[in-house]
């Protein structure tokens, strides 16, 4: 038991979170190994985003604990910066910084947190822009890019910190349909490269393709954790079955 625990990159134990009187997360337990790809799905308002936002402390939580690399998350500015170096995040609305160029967006974190020089940071930035296949956009401002390109920049921005794990919070939900596949391709490539990933998404095709583990959440609880073959063909709970029938009916 202790042996297997040591290999978990992320452990969430009894996590509970309240917004005022509203219980957003209740008794969340989840373990993610290094290199594991976890896809989280569930109806809106089920706490998926809140859960992954707790992992890099964008949200505080009232109960339970989270361990990353065996180290417990505490609300201490220095420790938080160290956690955010290890855990990258991609948002639904990209949240690029509109006042600086794409290249500068990518350089900011490495310069400020990893203490890279400007030229080192620029070099890293270009490397990841090439990885997401838009190096020619480096000198543009985010508003000059399409949604799909912006999200790819956001992925590259997170990768520039050289994270050990990536969190994706509905990365394709704000995209026009024709932009989605480009972003998913990048994510598949990332997954095949061995990145530890937790992806909140409704893209079930992507889930089938890359997920090692499916997590289904409803009403702030984890209802089901299963490998994708089992989850999609033989869901164990009524709620996941209902959700799947709704989402896959078209």
């Amino acid at each position: 038991m202790s042996n297997s625990e040591a290999s978990h990159f992320l452990q969430i134990k009894g996590l509970g979170k309240w917004f005022g009187q509203f219980c957003a997360l209740w008794d969340i337990n989840l373990e993610v190994n290094s290199g594991e790809r976890v896809v989280v799905c569930g109806p809106s308002g089920s706490g998926k985003s809140t859960m992954i936002r707790c992992i890099n402390l964008l949200e505080t939580f009232e109960a339970g604990e989270i361990l990353i690399d065996g180290e417990k998350l505490v609300n201490n500015p220095k420790k938080i910066l160290a956690i955010r170096r290890k855990v990258g995040m991609v948002f639904q609305n990209f949240n690029l910084f509109p006042h600086i160029t794409v290249l500068q967006n990518l350089m900011l974190g490495p310069i400020r947190n990893l203490n890279l020089s400007k030229s080192e940071a620029a070099e890293t930035a270009m490397k990841y822009l090439e990885k997401v296949q838009i190096p020619e956009q480096a000198k543009k401002y985010p508003s000059q890019l399409s949604g799909g390109q912006q999200q790819r920049v956001a992925i590259a921005r997170a990768l520039c910190m050289n994270p050990e794990m990536m969190l994706f919070d509905e990365p394709t939900s704000a995209l026009d349909p024709e932009m989605i596949s480009g972003v998913l391709d990048i994510m598949v490539e990332l997954a095949e490269g061995g990145m530890t990933m937790i992806v909140v998404t409704h893209e079930m095709g992507f889930a089938k393709q890359v997920a090692d583990t499916m997590v289904f959440m409803d009403h702030g609880e984890i209802v089901e954790v299963a490998p994708p073959e089992q989850f999609f063909t033989n869901p164990q709970s009524d709620r996941s079955e209902l959700f799947l029938s709704q989402i896959l009916s078209h």
Binding site: L81, M89, N93, P98, L108, G109, R112, A158
Partner: protein, 303 residues
Amino acid sequence: MPVNRPPPALEKAKRIKLLDIVVISIVAVVIIAIYYRVEHVLVYRWNWGLVFEYFVRIDEATGDILPNLFLKGVAMTLRLAFWGTIIAAVIGIVMGLCRVSNSLFLKAVSRLYVELIRNIPPVVFIFVFYFFISSQIIPLLGLDNIAYTASPNTIAVLEVLFGPIGLFTNFLAGLICLAVFEGAYITEIVRAGIQSIGKGQWEAARAGGLSRFFVLRDVILPQALKTILPPLASQFIILVKDSSIVSLISVQELTFLTQDVSNTTTQFFESWMLTAALYFMMCFPLAMLFQRFERTGLGIQKH
């Protein structure tokens, strides 16, 4: 090739409409009525020449041309405006950052500052604050000694920057009152600017590994500046005008000295109309300048 379809021709709007003519007529009638009241009912004796003498005077002993009360007043008002703007901006930025800080203490202090000043009439504030700082704080600085110890050159420079050395403590008291007063409004402008930046920007910057200091410096403040600039500019113009309230504590700026002129000459209309024109001449170019900044955006990228 896409076909270029010309837009439908729109009827040209008339330059002057009936309503404009009506409004212009009403204004004209009011002006004529005022003129009539002053000339034929009040029987006011205009004497612009007498008032204009208060711009410059000729030293009888040496024959030099020296600035008289109006010019001295303008100079003093400009000094108040210049230093007041700088100090108020510093106070406003520091307090504005306190308003959005995580520390309950800093939040409480800055909130108290803003609410106290916004909810007390400026005149009352000036009197209360003046008697406190002039009797308690300024003597501690030992500024009076400067006049006795500094070299003549130093004094000449200081006089250009801060006005007559004999009135220095008085100027400083007025300046601090003005800066503290205007700083409260700038605090709120800065706070609103910072809070106008979406939550997503904070989150992306924090998730990207930036400490709070760099989140503010690299991401939030540069964007907030665009929102802050227009109200900040108009606040600076208000500051120039508000500098007239320190005449109440005998700072010898334009309004204070105009009282002298109008009392001495008894030409009230002329003195005050002239002063109104002088204030306008100080504020209007500023307004033009800031409007220009707003258009060019100070080189800040639009998004």
